[in-house]
Symmetry: C2
Subunit: 210 residues, 2 copies
């Protein structure tokens, strides 16, 4: 079982390291994927949005068939939507993958690869209106959403919640619970200041009535 995470310059760090951690624990402790690797266009270090430098495991050309493909977001997506190698890779790997997932503005890369047509999807709250410009995408203001084999998460940290739910969906709640316990993922719900009351804040926060 192969789980691949595609990265590119100016990818947002937590978008992919949150899911990476959960999948890594699944793999290490709960008979998850045999391989989880970081894929990039070439073997050079990738400088992420906040400056973290990550070495990929495999290039686009070297990458084997994937059971699961995760595409993170970040400001780099604005350039990568026009990168035919990246978009072609997503389209090709998605054909045989059981599941394709995105985090944050990674959904724009799935859209360009033709994977969101007629689907429910979400993205970072600050990009929801941009995603609505694609009339064949049903934009959802949830922390994450699933439509068949396509999962899309809201911004940055939401990938952790999505991947835990994804793991539960293909294993069971007990496996996901043990991963949650190992990662000690029992986050505070504290809201700082008033930013979450802004008009642009995501619908699922407003729906909580906070």
């Amino acid at each position: 079982m192969n789980f691949g995470i595609l990265i590119f310059p100016d990818v947002e760090e937590l978008d992919f390291v949150g899911p990476w951690e959960m999948v890594g624990i699944w793999s290490d402790r709960e008979k998850g994927p045999d391989n989880c690797f970081i894929i990039a266009q070439n073997k050079e270090p990738v400088t992420c949005s906040k400056g973290l430098k990550v070495l990929p495991d495999v290039t686009l050309d070297e990458c084997p068939e994937l059971d699961f493909l995760l595409v993170p977001g970040g400001r780099g997506t604005r350039k990568e939507v026009d990168n035919p190698q990246i978009i072609g890779f997503i389209r090709e790997k998605a054909e045989k993958a059981k599941t394709v997932l995105s985090v944050c503005t990674g959904s724009f890369l799935l859209q360009r690869a033709g994977l969101l047509s007629g689907k429910k999807a979400t993205t970072h709250w600050g990009s929801l209106d941009r995603l609505r410009e694609f009339e064949d995408v049903e934009v959802i203001e949830e922390r994450f959403t699933r439509d068949g084999r396509i999962w899309t998460a809201a911004g940055i940290s939401a990938g952790i919640d999505m991947v835990l739910s994804f793991i539960a969906s293909i294993t069971d709640d007990q496996v996901a619970g043990r991963i949650q316990l190992y990662a000690e993922y029992y986050p505070y719900q504290k809201l700082y200041g008033d930013a979450h009351k802004e008009e642009g804040a995501p619908g699922y926060i407003k729906q909580r009535g906070i």
Copy 2:
């Protein structure tokens, strides 16, 4: 203002990338630290616990004075507690730093550097008993705890909550709230399965009565 994150082989990925993301947003959007860098013993790529390969920005010798030092955990800490370069670095930088923070079993590196004597501290729930073996450390079962200029977080994902609270403490709740909104850090509270009911689960979870 310099924020340094120390890494080493088999460091746990989310332990440091969660805080890195929050500090990066603070820096980019809210006049946070001028520099945030990844420090390691040498310039070679560091292979983390789940296999992610990260290039450090500076070596121990190159590292300037730090205002803030964060030490993540992971299974690599069991070896690094006996690494005099790493422990000496923490001890030396802590002398001038305003704040020293650890995530997960990073607290064992702070302990070895003499920073937890007479202090409240925490760690990954699976290592609480090991931390209790140091009689001069008051072990706390909270998501994170602060004792003066020393902040310690529980396991893996808890570093995100700690750093957001730390940022609020030296700026204000409005700044922390805007960082929270940008990172879309409004996590689900879903508990999967029964793992959190295990005897070893951390006290702050049991105290929630779940």
